[in-house]
């Protein structure tokens, strides 16, 4: 589309005067670009100059050296060891891991709810589809921040630890969070983790083999049950080999809090419910659009060839639906990760919340905000790279 600008046709005669030069399209394009680049560079330099000038004039500390200084503050929830004697840099890592964990849980929950609601939306059952539509309209149109605040205030107003509500004898629900019994720590748990990963890898390899086999010989091998068997069976085997430990750590009220068991904090829960429900509304719409993308005729054709409904869904509807679903779904995931940054309003120590504290303690707003932005940019870039890769993988291959 390089011939949009047709105005240079007027200077048709090839005389090399100054005016021809001025009216020549390529010359003008070049000049405009140079000016544009100059303006951008000028604005950039101008802003940079001002920052340097202002920071120096006011004696404000600069640079990223602060990342190695002792933070002197504590963090409530952490996945790696951290204390007030650790550095600001480590505090950022704690925040990043918290962001990732709430995002991962959020993506799981949002996908689960989103697919359920999305499928219900196109259900032939009128009542069910209307209920699903109502759900989508409500969760999508209330600001996510309002939803998160609502859940956090709601959870905060649960009974306190002394009046804990017991949940089915395995846990307690209080305004300190949900505490529940878990198997007591045992060395075999790490082996079980490895076994789980191995099971997943083997299952994937198995399905690849099955596809190759199908494509070369035409015989269909159902890998569903062997896969499930591998993923569940290997950890169970590992558990049996480890002596099948059944000790369970029950939460017991002691002092201010529960001892034993695992506690999910109300801040985490409020943020998780808020961002996951909000995203689930959008995911439901994406899923609905994707499932409706397969023409009815194809499904009918597959049925008429005698394939079972499950087979039709797996090999006719799903591949086409996923092609439509995955790109917008990934961008929903990215926006869920970005939405997790509202943790700061409910007090969950995510990246932005920690960054906020660091910004206050050091006064180095520019650097602290730069760290936050860079981390999110990296996450977004990785996701879009993945998406491009996937798009290329599933793009319709013309033969």
């Amino acid at each position: 589309m390089t011939h949009i600008d047709g105005s240079d046709q007027r200077g048709a005669k090839p005389r090399q005067t100054l005016s021809t030069l001025l009216y020549s399209k390529s010359f003008r394009t070049a000049v405009t670009q140079v000016v544009m680049a100059a303006v951008v560079i000028f604005i950039g330099l101008f802003l940079y100059q001002n920052v340097v000038e202002n920071l120096r004039a006011q004696n404000i500390a600069t640079g990223f050296g602060f990342l190695e200084q002792t933070s002197q503050f504590d963090i409530g929830e952490k996945m790696i060891t951290y204390s007030a004697r650790d550095s600001y840099g480590r505090a950022f890592v704690v925040g990043l891991l918290n962001t990732l964990s709430v995002s991962a849980a959020g993506i799981f929950l949002a996908t689960l709810i989103g697919f359920t609601v999305g499928i219900s939306r196109i259900s032939s059952n009128w009542l069910l589809s209307k209920v699903a539509t109502g759900y989508v309209e409500i969760v999508r149109n209330i600001p996510v921040i309002l939803q998160v605040i609502f859940w956090s205030v709601l959870l905060r107003n649960l009974p306190n630890a002394r009046n804990a509500v017991e949940v089915y004898g395995v846990g307690f629900l209080t305004n300190r969070g949900l505490t529940f019994a878990v198997p007591a720590t045992h060395p075999i748990h790490s082996t079980m983790g490895i076994a789980l990963v191995a099971g997943i890898v083997l299952a994937i390899l198995g399905s690849i083999w099955a596809r190759r086999h199908r494509e070369s010989t035409g015989t269909y091998v159902n890998m569903l049950w062997p896969s499930i068997g591998l993923v569940i069976g290997l950890p169970v085997l590992a558990w049996l080999f480890g002596g099948a430990p059944t000790a369970i750590s029950y939460p017991v009220q002691k002092g201010f809090n529960f001892q034993g068991g695992v506690t999910i904090s109300p801040e985490f829960t409020a943020l998780l419910i808020g961002i996951a429900l909000y995203a689930s509304g959008f995911i439901a719409e994406i899923v609905r659009a994707g499932l409706q993308a397969t023409p009815k005729g194809q499904i009918e054709a597959a049925r008429s060839m005698g394939f079972r409904p499950w087979f039709v869904t797996r090999y006719v509807v799903l591949p086409q639906a996923l092609r439509v679903i995955v790109p917008p779904l990934t961008s929903q995931y990215v926006s869920l990760i970005k939405n997790s940054s509202i943790a700061v309003v409910v007090g969950y120590p995510d990246l932005v919340n920690i960054g906020n504290t660091v910004m206050n303690q050091t006064g180095q707003a520019v650097e602290a905000i730069a760290v936050m932005m860079l981390v999110y940019l990296t996450i977004s870039l990785i996701t879009s790279t993945f998406m491009n890769f996937y798009n290329r993988l599933v793009a319709i291959k013309e033969r």
Binding site: N59, I60, G76, R176, F256, V345, G347, N353, T362
Partner: protein, 344 residues
């Protein structure tokens, strides 16, 4: 001329004009820009009862608010020529650094780190306090040692956040912090029992108890003060004239109390024989013009706002909702820490 080139030039011009029209002022000379503007921009706490909070009619009221009024009285002779900018703990330092406010009187603890790395200057402290803990009375907690394993609500970016880490570490105790930026959400988390204790400057806690709890009797302040928190007004570094003014307004309130000059008797005191009183009230000397304001600057501060004792009594005295002992905040002659440098 090329059409799109012209358009782009026009766009650039508009952009620059918008930036420029926002108004230029010389940042090095805060006093001049304050006078030109006709009001002092004072950064205050959004809701700390006793120190700064809007009352039911939306007017700002509090101990720190009165110091903002005092600065306005010194500059303009009119204590009302001040505009209050409520700042969260996160916004306070960027606001003073960027010139959004002229002075920060917002429960800021003077520390070396802030003085240097944040590019601030601290006026003499107007309130000495320390970290305190508010706990639920029915929890049976009597001292800070009983808080081992507790969940503690604390504001981010505060000196308190660091103090609480140190207090527990030195006692070999454990705790879980719940850190919420929004002060209201933070207090709400404590009141609903999400936290066992709320920690803030001790002087701020009676205000929380009086205003934010349904039944103040259900909450107790733990005895003892656990850190040094000298609260002081802060100005930008590099503007000595403005710094001097804020500093001497503070001293003037101390000296007025020491010399027995009150808002009521200041007029009569002008005819006093005491040279110290005479120079304080601008009867002799040219101290006002040396500070860049009128000679009766301190007189205006005292008549319109009051001396330290009067300001204190108004917000923390007997009968006020947030009653606080003067404790360290008494004059040096009474064994306290308030020591006004002589106006000579």
């Amino acid at each position: 001329m090329n059409k799109d080139f012209k358009l782009k030039t026009a766009l650039c011009a508009i952009g620059l004009a918008t930036l420029g029209s926002a108004g230029f002022a010389d940042s090095g000379d805060t006093l001049a820009s304050v006078k030109e503007r006709g009001e002092v921009l004072c950064g205050v706490h959004p809701a700390r009862h006793g120190f700064a909070a809007p009352n039911s009619k939306g007017h700002w009221d509090g101990f720190e608010v009165d110091y903002c009024h005092a600065i306005a009285a010194a500059v303009f002779g009119d204590a009302d020529k001040v505009r209050f900018v409520a700042l969260s703990s996160q916004q306070r330092f960027p606001a003073i650094q960027s010139g959004e406010v002229d002075v920060l009187v917002r429960n800021v603890t003077a520390t070396l780190g802030r003085d240097t790395a944040l590019g601030l200057n601290f006026a003499p402290p107007i309130f000495y306090t320390g970290t305190g803990f508010l706990v639920h009375a029915d929890s049976g907690v009597k001292t800070v040692e009983d808080l081992d394993g507790a969940t503690i609500c604390v504001a981010p970016g505060s000196t308190t956040e660091r103090n609480v880490a140190q207090i527990f570490a030195t006692r070999g105790m454990d705790y879980t912090p719940v850190v919420i930026e929004n002060n209201k959400q933070l207090v709400d988390a404590y009141v609903t029992g999400r936290c066992d204790a709320l920690t803030k400057d001790k002087a701020a806690l009676p205000g929380v108890r009086a205003y934010d709890t349904e039944n103040p009797a259900e909450h107790v302040l733990l005895p003892g003060i656990f850190s040094k928190e000298p609260l002081a007004a802060a100005v930008r570094q590099g503007d000595d004239q403005w710094y001097d003014l804020v500093k001497w307004v503070t001293y003037a309130t101390f000296n007025a109390e020491e010399l027995g000059v009150t808002s009521e008797n200041a007029g009569d005191m002008k005819s006093s024989d005491n040279v110290d009183i005479q120079s304080l009230l601008g009867v002799t000397g040219d101290y006002g013009s040396k500070l860049g304001v009128s000679e009766d600057w301190a007189y205006n501060v005292i008549t319109q706002v009051g001396n330290y004792a009067e300001i204190y009594a108004r917000h923390f005295g007997p009968g006020s909702p947030v009653e606080l002992d003067r404790d360290l905040n008494t004059l040096w002659v009474d064994g306290g820490l308030l020591y006004g440098f002589p106006i000579k």
